[in-house]
Subunit: 318 residues, 2 copies
């Protein structure tokens, strides 16, 4: 609703939260509100924080919030929360811990459960980002578990991506070789008071050194933290700031915002057209035999999908 | 390639593996091979095993394989492996442990990394299932981390879904209320030699009891295991068998196979049409202004996606 959008712009958290809910429910009023807010967005730095369960992401975010608040910055947090049954331990508890800031209008925490979205997760995450951005929350921290099956790919969304790791995750480090080096702008070794921390740091450092980075590009930072003791948080924020500065100096900041916008646009298009296309195909008289054969387990889905899409033509209603 | 498909049907593991690779690469020869194999599939029981990292899924699967082999059954395992950087600890190690069976032609283990698939994961998983099924592997065990962001939804695919849990996961149990009760046919409390095991069992039991299950429907089983000590594995297999029998008696077994086939068909259609639709839309002269405005961050993606899809019309090339 435009009314909610207007109130949100004035800083009304509750109106913002209501607007976000309308968006999640795919209520057309939500889209209208978003249209209204969109021109006011695009200013916030989006910081992605990703890492395996148990790495201490939520504790670090908690400390980041506190320090950003001391600097009088308004902080938004979007926690993409694998709230499914099988998510494992700490998540609900972590969420609660962040509630410390529940009464502070300078902090807007939104936990988005992944379960049940089935393709609509992007809508919820992006909608929330625009609302928070327009409301003046900056930075906006987005937390994902990032196990590689994420519907929302953090490196496509964030200006700055921080990868949290902890000592003793040998396999994790191994796996890092596979791709994490590509997405991290900042690597955080949390729980760096752990006996194996030095070894883990050396490993990570060696890997980062082995990357061939052109002179004018960003060199990933490696930062040690002990989240629970608030150690390294100031350095981490300094890291975020200097990466933002780097993006600004290279005219990359707005470029990333636009890329994100296009990324979500593509996701939204997919959501829109999938059902429509399926309906067209599955009810098309030409395909009745093929559909039946598929339903009777006589035709394999690969061939059926190929046959049914290769002659598909698009046009626009005039 | 048909040749690979023919050899796979004769039991040649290597030919099967090659065919699977062709499918993953979206090589049209792979689809041909699959078409050839499809009529031979549909017999295997597909068992989904899901649970959080650290619950002991891989150890249990390892023991299941051993016991199924003693019964002279051919076992297929598809491990959907969150091989991304951020996957956390044990996964690579677990995979290796299963390699014990690498030289046994009665065991076909395929680990499918989720990273980099971006929508093509379904293709790989389903293709592999058909190949293994046609080759006579039965049961086919599919392992997922299942944190709710899975691209492949285990309860849409498996005949029988087992949810592995361990004592001391208070939040996990809490989260279970949210939806896991719906998808589990069998609940496994692993590490049941743990001091808190009885309490955890009671919790789970109470929740299961509170479910209102009609007389003729399956009542979820609750089974205790200690994977490392091979305890409860026989009971678990008995559970799988009795659930399969239940499905057979109620003519549900083939129904589920067909549902799975349709599920993957829809996924494949989505893969096919998304790019096609985007290309049509983004190059359509009518939308040049809108596309530019989107690229310049002037129009919000929600409105753009809506406008661009609401007039979309489908037809078939004659």
């Amino acid at each position: 609703m435009i009314e909610y959008a207007k109130q949100a712009l004035k800083g009304d958290q509750r109106a913002g939260a209501r607007l976000i809910r309308l968006l999640e429910e795919q209520n057309p009023e939500g889209t209208k509100g978003l249209e209204y807010l969109f021109p006011h967005s695009g200013k916030a730095a989006v910081i992605g924080i990703t890492g395996p369960p148990g790495a201490g992401k939520s504790t670090i975010i908690e400390k980041l919030i506190t320090e950003y608040r001391q600097k009088k910055l308004k902080v938004g947090v979007i926690a993409v929360d694998p709230s499914s049954p099988n998510s494992g331990g700490a998540i609900l508890g972590d969420r609660l811990r962040m509630r410390n800031h529940a009464d502070d209008p300078g902090v807007f925490i939104r936990s988005i459960a992944t379960r049940g979205y089935q393709g609509g997760l992007s809508r919820a995450v992006f909608g929330t980002m625009i609302v928070l951005d327009a409301m003046g929350y900056d930075p906006i921290i987005i937390e994902t578990v990032g196990i590689g099956q994420d519907e929302v790919e953090i490196d496509q969304i964030a200006h700055t991506t921080a990868v949290i790791s902890i000592p003793g995750m040998g396999d994790h480090i191994q796996a890092m070789k596979a791709g994490i080096l590509e997405i991290g702008d900042i690597f955080v070794m949390n729980k760096s008071d752990h006996p194996n921390a030095d070894m883990a740091m050396n490993h990570l450092n060696t890997m980062l050194q082995s990357k061939n980075i052109p002179e004018d590009e960003w060199k990933p930072l490696l930062i040690q933290t002990v989240g629970k003791e608030n150690k390294g948080i100031t350095e981490l924020i300094r890291g975020f700031d200097s990466h933002r500065e780097h993006l600004m100096n290279n005219h990359r900041f707005d470029e990333i915002s636009t890329r994100r916008s296009l990324y979500f646009f593509k996701r939204l298009i997919t959501d829109h057209v999938t059902e429509k296309t399926l309906q067209f195909i599955l009810t098309n008289p030409k395909y009745i035999t093929l559909t039946d054969s598929l339903k009777q387990f006589k035709t394999d889905p690969f061939s059926a999908a190929k046959k049914m899409t290769e002659n598909l033509k698009y046009s626009l209603k005039s």
